[in-house]
Symmetry: C2
């Protein structure tokens, strides 16, 4: 905490008085009471952004899927499990928000009918799962009458810039951040590609903490 | 480490010179490079057992699915992701093993054909997943010509003793440990029901550390 306070003291207050909502981590979509579908997001990038935004003076709400990370200092954290719960938590906190950063790796689909009892293994019998589409949290928030400045993330293995710009247009948001590193998931460092209407800007390989500070500064510049 | 050394110093060496292999945590069965099927196991009980066995003097190999837990002091840890990888790691270390404790919550099924590329979300298109059965790690080890003393775990919401005894018979192993607490998954304490040929024995609610020590002692008594 002392380190966090000190770092905050020396960080320019680019986001003083701003309200920021950030999603982070994976979602967990139940199959039955013990099994579910998830993804490999560690939550590190989202948590680093929450800390960097707080240190830049913002009032930060972090809506987090299941992770093993400690709560960032001075940040209000809401724990959720599923995409639907994540959307509800974001909607509950989005009023008067200036910036919404959707870092969470939200499951695109959930199981149509999760089982209330643990599915028993039976010889020769395999389960079959039907899926339904989850809500698109970022597009939902971007479609609000007076949306906050919306930032999305893209993690594609091929044609990152092209894919990121297409995703930006489709979701109708001003800024998409691409994970350049194939190995970004779970790692402690990363490399980012900022894609907005002006084109692309590369943030070279660095720790997620350093990249988070640079990205928060880039966002604050775009707020004008 | 000092605490671990001290605790070990004062722990009776019930397993001195014994070799113990323990599985812990969930498995993660890929759907594509970023998504997969997992379960809610935290790995805490398996890690506590690995530490307790080491403190009781055993040479311990811990084969662990993805967890956020620190490596137990003095234990050899092998990290794996899928059930097939877990079986291979156990088989690679099972020679001359005295005790095998299968605590991991192994996925019963894996996706038949995981996608090599991230499955893209397309409007109106839902994925369909076909499954194949995973190997039964505990039954495979119990069926070896000279098997180690095999211990399994059962986590059923209903009829625990009955289910545990049926599982013990089916897998042909001497001891099954039932998680009595419905809320054991992820929690720091638990309550156990030991089921063997002599009947059932209850270990009342306690921390997973204390229960691990009691269970290691109960196993060492059964080794004779």
């Amino acid at each position: 905490e002392i380190l966090a306070e000190l770092t905050a003291f020396f960080t320019p207050k680019h986001l003083a008085g701003k309200r920021v909502v950030i999603t982070a981590g994976p979602t967990f979509e139940p199959i039955d009471p013990v099994r579910g579908i998830t993804n490999l997001s560690s939550g590190k990038m989202g948590y680093a952004l929450a800390q960097a935004a707080q240190q830049a003076g913002a009032n930060v709400v972090l809506v987090s899927g299941p992770t093993a990370l400690a709560e960032p200092y001075g940040v209000q954290r809401m724990d959720v499990q599923t995409a639907q719960q994540m959307l509800a938590a974001v909607q509950a906190h989005i009023a008067d928000t200036d910036v919404f950063i959707a870092v969470a790796a939200v499951a695109d689909w959930r199981v149509a009918e999760p089982s209330a009892q643990k599915i028993k293994k039976q010889a020769g019998s395999l389960p079959s799962l039907a899926f339904v589409e989850n809500p698109d949290i970022l597009a939902t928030i971007a479609a609000l009458p007076n949306p906050p400045y919306c930032v999305g993330f893209a993690a594609e293995s091929e044609n990152l810039a092209e894919y990121a710009q297409a995703k930006r247009a489709k979701k109708n948001i001003p800024l998409i951040v691409g994970n350049v590193a194939q190995t970004a998931l779970g790692a402690d460092d990363n490399e980012l590609l900022l894609c907005d209407a002006a084109g692309t800007q590369r943030l070279p390989r660095a720790s997620k903490q350093v990249l988070a500070q640079q990205l928060i500064e880039a966002i604050s510049q775009r707020l004008g």
